[in-house]
């Protein structure tokens, strides 16, 4: 029996996602034939602000591209300027950046796991993920002063130091946290409800992921071993990192990648604290940048690029940002085609959409 096609709008205001994205879902009965995304609800146009702000002040704006990936955006921007100006950042600052980056990854992944559970209607799991997240935020607030926007990274280093005694205290807290996280992750790995809602849902093949340019856990969940941390920015080249790769290509695999990355991040913080050298945390910055640099970092959602072009004035010329969510939207559209209507929220969440980043 042939059926009539109908279009169901998803978003921009929807209980599942705190952020506005609009999808036109073309349905045939309960099956999604096609999903047409439309974006622009969060577009502010902040790339043009580089023309109005001093390059040192633009770190604030770069950090406010997104409130979840905030710290890592500022690292990407500062790294770019430092490379243009040939600044040698003190090694301790690099390590501190690494530690804070991994803390942001912990908070972002816990947040995502919670939202993912919420999309399935698993309220208890949502609350438990966010309860653990508060502990990560506490550590961030104690060391930087900010819960979600840290404002601690600057061109030439970082603003604050963490004393060695505080660092070892943080590692002790992480030991407790990681055992709690393991309990939480086991629910995501083993629970029947979660499996039922995620296994085989939203399948993306390795070839498609590669062709559509998926990045981060979306690509790693399809068996592509690609992690920008392996290129060794900040202090990552001193540390032992193996990308977490799953081969399922479905929602379950992408969830597993993120859950396993939680424990990987704890391990990276432990290594960084064990190896951190003593010394200054910033250098004096003189003059203006002149040149261009392509700065890449690994955000919780995947590879993020800041292309920075400067011409020796105090305002830089261009800061082109490509965020992981923009890269993952084509993959999302591919996953949605052919799925069930009821699975749409779950699938949309598995790419960890960060619309604030994607539209800037």
């Amino acid at each position: 029996m042939s059926s009539r096609r109908i279009v169901v709008p998803f978003g921009p205001q929807h209980p599942v996602l705190p952020e506005p994205i609009h999808l036109d879902l073309v349905l045939e009965d309960e099956h999604v034939v096609e999903a047409i995304p439309s974006i622009g609800y969060v577009h502010r146009g902040l790339e043009r602000l580089v023309e109005k702000r001093d390059y040192k002040d633009f770190v604030y704006i770069a950090e406010r591209i997104c409130g979840i990936c905030s710290f890592i955006h500022s690292v990407a921007y500062c790294q770019g300027i430092e490379n243009i100006m040939n600044l040698e950042v003190p090694r301790r600052a690099d390590y501190l950046r690494t530690i804070w980056s991994e803390y942001s990854r912990l908070h972002s992944h816990l947040l995502w796991l919670g939202l993912f559970a919420d999309a399935m209607g698993f309220e208890n799991l949502f609350m438990n993920s966010w309860r653990l997240r508060e502990k990560v935020l506490d550590a961030m607030e104690e060391t930087t002063g900010g819960r979600v926007i840290q404002g601690v990274c600057k061109v030439g280093g970082v603003r604050k130091d963490i004393s060695n005694s505080k660092l070892s205290e943080m590692v002790k807290d992480l030991d407790i946290l990681s055992s709690e996280m393991e309990d939480l992750c086991n629910v995501f790995f083993d629970d029947d409800t979660v499996r039922h809602r995620t296994k085989g849902v939203g399948f993306l093949s390795k070839d498609d992921a590669y062709k559509l340019g998926a990045v981060g856990p979306t690509a790693r969940g399809c068996g592509i071993s690609y992690d920008v941390r392996k290129t060794g920015y900040a202090a990552y080249n001193d540390l032992d990192i193996a990308p977490v790769v799953e081969t399922g290509g479905d929602c379950y695999s992408r969830c597993n990648v993120r859950a396993k990355e939680l424990l990987q991040s704890v391990d990276i913080i432990r290594q960084a604290v064990a190896n951190i050298p003593d010394g200054d945390v910033d250098v004096k910055v003189k003059g203006n940048p002149n040149g261009e640099y392509f700065s890449r970092v690994e955000q919780p959602r995947g590879e993020c690029i800041h292309y920075i072009k400067a011409n020796g004035k105090k305002n830089i010329q261009r800061d082109r940002v490509r965020t992981p969510t923009s890269a993952n939207i084509p993959a999302l559209v591919k996953m949605l085609a052919g799925c069930e209507m009821a699975d749409v929220p779950v699938i949309v969440l598995t790419i960890d959409p960060c619309i604030g980043c994607a539209e800037r």
């Binding site: 705190p18 609800y41 502010r44 146009g45 406010r64 409130g67 604030g356």
Partner: protein, 147 residues
Amino acid sequence: MSYLTKSPWIIHYDASSCNGCDIEVLASLTPLYDVERFGIINTGNPKHADIFLVTGSVNEQNKEVIKNIYDQMPKPNVVVGVGICACSGGVFRECYNVSGGVGEIIPVDVYVPGCSAKPEAIIDGVVKALGILDQKYKALKEGGGSN
């Protein structure tokens, strides 16, 4: 502090905020802050909501969405602008696609400043809004017209 006989429900919309405040709005629902113990629930349906929480500044594309949600809410209702972007546009006020704070589109009753606004501040703002909601109810009962 005020007293209401019904549980105030909240609808939340992100109008071009950076996510910082949205996440804090959600964080106030979760175990550490737990506003649900006061009967405050985050609903997705504007027709069930008494309080409209808006985060972020307003841009060309979401003007209509904000207006739409506001119009669908039963009156009387209150609007809380969360974060410095909702107050004035914040650091983004000079951006080409930002028209300014939420006050440009709909009447705002309570502004919560901060970048990003902390959950404590958001809860304070909502409690303040409850007082205003109470006054609006009284005015409505006395036949003072809607809102």
